[in-house]
């Protein structure tokens, strides 16, 4: 059984709450018309990015999706610059060129969110190829949804990674929804991880709303990959609490269905209940972390609001080296 020290438990809680509060703030300011474009929220799926990234260093890589704020935060990116990017400000990670769907922080190994569903598979696989060629002891992780597993890129990447025994971990966040379509109506398998067997790749299914289960499953994946045995497939079962994007009228499901998950299977509430019941953390510990997060979110928001937009003359910057 995995033993959790207080530092790691606090990190889990801190990261999950930080993602949740960040996303709630983004939602509020988007609905208020202050954030341009589109935003896709990670609310309800926080335990996955948190449980995975807790075991990674800045030299390990992640590839993210259009729903990428949570991965970015869990990988350790500065939320001030993340928030500024989402607001389209020049102090953002991408100087306002990317926005929510193209958030990235290369300084912590976050190689980018991707606006194309399934766009990250081959890129993460290539980063793993580089790791192997450079003889480094790192891993490349790609987050993706159930819907993305129907892209051809998924199948080409998994085959290549398995044939070349690359240090890459495919983390499927099965949130049940491919945009507005229930994935079971368009997907040949119930468990996306069943597809890994077709590529001679070991896999594991974890409860994506239980950070402990995600963490432990990822440890197993990491041990396999770091032993040089090639890629690993981790499927985290979860549920997308929010619409596909903020503003989605959600005509495809009932409010009751969503509310039930939110009340009964909320990863943050589940964590709180467990650590209090098992006397791992106290109410005061949790309260202190929540306060710390509140302050950091407030600072990030102020930073974003007070930052300048890019000048029109910056339009050609960073096109070519």
């Amino acid at each position: 059984m995995t033993v959790y020290n207080k530092e790691l438990l606090e990190k889990f809680y801190y990261t999950m709450v930080k993602i949740r509060k960040f996303e709630e703030t983004v939602e509020k300011y988007f609905l208020d018309g202050q954030i341009p474009g589109f935003v896709h929220l990670y609310i309800g799926e926080e335990a996955i990015a948190t449980g995975v990234c807790a075991s990674l260093t800045n030299e390990d890589y992640i590839q993210s999706t259009h729903r990428g704020h949570g991965h970015t935060i869990a990988k350790g990116a500065d939320i001030k610059r993340a928030m500024a990017e989402i607001f389209g400000k020049k102090t953002g990670f991408c100087k306002g060129k990317g926005g929510s769907m193209h958030i990235a922080d290369f300084s912590v190994g976050m190689l980018g969110a991707n606006g194309v569903v399934g766009g990250g598979f081959t890129i993460a696989t290539g980063a793993a190829l580089a790791i192997k060629k450079q003889k480094r002891d790192n891993v490349s992780v790609v987050f993706f949804g159930d819907g993305a597993s129907n892209r051809g890129t998924f199948h080409e990447a998994l085959n290549l990674a398995s044939a070349w025994k690359l240090p890459v971990i495919y983390v499927c966040e099965n949130n049940q929804w491919a945009s507005t379509t229930p994935y079971r109506t368009t997907t040949s398998v119930e468990d996306i991880s069943a597809r890994a067997a077709g590529y001679s790749m070991p896999s594991k299914i974890v409860d994506g709303n239980d950070v402990f289960d995600v963490y432990e499953g990822f440890q197993e994946a990491l041990a396999h990959v770091k032993a040089g045995k090639g890629p690993f497939f981790l499927e985290a079962k979860t549920y997308r609490i929010k619409g596909h994007f903020v503003g989605d009228p959600e005509l495809y499901r009932t409010k009751e269905e969503v509310q039930k998950v939110y009340e009964e299977n909320n990863p943050i509430t589940r964590f709180e209940q467990k650590v209090l019941k098992d006397n791992l953390l106290t109410e005061a510990d949790l309260e202190a972390i929540k306060n710390k997060v509140e302050n950091e979110i407030k600072e990030a928001l102020e930073f974003a609001l007070n930052s300048e937009y890019p000048e029109p003359s910056e339009i050609f910057d960073d096109l070519y080296v």
């Binding site: 890589y61 590839q63 953002g92 990670f93 991408c94 100087k95 306002g96 060129k97 990317g98 193209h102 990235a104 922080d105 290369f106 300084s107 190689l111 980018g112 991707n114 606006g115 194309v116 766009g119 598979f121 081959t122 890129i123 993460a124 696989t125 290539g126 980063a127 793993a128 190829l129 580089a130 790791i131 060629k133 450079q134 490349s140 051809g152 890129t153 080409e156 990447a157 085959n159 290549l160 044939a163 070349w164 910057d317 960073d318 096109l319 070519y320 080296v321």
Partner: protein
């Protein structure tokens, strides 16, 4: 000067740059055991071992994994087998490779090269014969080169391998076997520089890649009538050398562009529009564009031949605007 083939020139460029920079590696279909379907990788695996790797038939994964490796500090080369197969990897090329640096605010570079054998050859038909370079002129973030002779093939490939931007290197299948002079020692052709390969005063004739053979034939035909064509080998399509084009047109006052690719929406269309915008007052004749008809490449030899550039017809059309 020694004569080597275009194919040999690309091999020399690869070997020299791979010795110089350990981050360069090559992946593609049939390149280790077969040496590439046109022999353009022959011998490299002997010297460079697992830096030359055979891939599954997965063009999407070939280009995508090169992008990922480039982001993680390598300088990959993706061989596309046939340029036609770039369509399979198009999302990786235009949505990922071309945009990553810009979209992420300059946090990274994507130093990689896509090698793409193109052009008509031996009735290879609609899906193995195309010249698709014009597509990539419409995608900001890429550089595109298309050499016409062994010296430029070597020099431009070396430049592409040293460039920190993604570069698409079109190499014509017929040209592979053609020989030309290549100096010993370092050969480097900067990306973005066209070359006036023959001076003339009556018309500027612009081409690149296999089109240069036609341009030379046209020039000889015109010479018989006392018409002196100035020939420019464009060499780089993105960014194309605007200054060299304008300087020439201001001197000759006439312009024709020749390429094997489809005329409509082709490289010639861009250059014609550019010259019309920048220098129409210097022109004494309509701008002429010569390219393939607006059809897929047909199979049967008489049809394939109909698709090809016709020096006689081009010369005839040029004579008409000069008289």
């Amino acid at each position: 000067m020694r004569q080597i083939t275009f194919s040999q020139a690309t091999l020399e460029a690869m070997a020299e740059e791979m010795r110089r920079d350990e981050r360069i590696f090559v992946i593609g279909e049939d390149i280790v055991r077969q040496g590439g379907i046109f022999g353009q990788f022959k011998g490299l695996p002997d010297e460079f071992g697992d830096r030359i790797m055979d891939t599954p038939i997965s063009e999407t994964a070939i280009v995508g994994s090169c992008i990922g490796a480039a982001l993680a500090g390598m300088r990959p080369v993706a061989d596309m087998h046939f340029a036609d197969f770039m369509g399979v990897a198009m999302d990786e090329i235009f949505n990922q490779m071309a945009k990553i640096r810009y979209m992420f605010g300059g946090q990274t570079t994507v130093p990689m090269v896509i090698r793409a054998p193109d052009g008509l050859s031996l009735s290879a038909a609609a899906q193995h014969s195309q010249s698709i370079e014009a597509w990539f002129m419409n995608i900001p973030g890429l550089k595109v080169v298309s050499p016409s002779n062994p010296e430029d093939a070597k020099g431009l490939l070396k430049a592409a391998l040293r460039d920190d931007n993604p570069v698409i290197y079109f190499e014509n299948k017929i040209l592979y076997r053609e020989s030309g002079p290549v100096p010993d020692g370092e050969v480097f052709v900067p990306i973005g520089k066209a070359k006036v390969v023959k001076e003339g005063k009556d018309i500027t004739l612009i081409s690149y890649s296999i089109g240069m053979k036609t341009a030379y034939e046209v020039e000889k035909l015109l010479e018989k009538d006392g018409i002196e064509a100035e020939i420019i080998d464009l060499r780089t399509l993105v960014p194309y050398d605007r200054d060299t084009i304008l300087n020439s047109v201001k001197k000759t006052h006439r312009l024709a562009i020749v390429h094997e690719a489809v005329k409509q929406g082709g490289v010639g269309s861009e250059i014609a529009a550019f010259v019309a915008e920048e220098a129409i007052e210097y022109l004494d004749a309509p701008i002429l564009r010569f390219g393939a008809p607006f059809t897929p490449v047909p199979f049967s030899p008489p049809l394939e031949n109909e698709y090809r550039m016709k020096p006689n017809k081009i010369a005839e059309a040029i004579r008409k605007v000069i008289k």
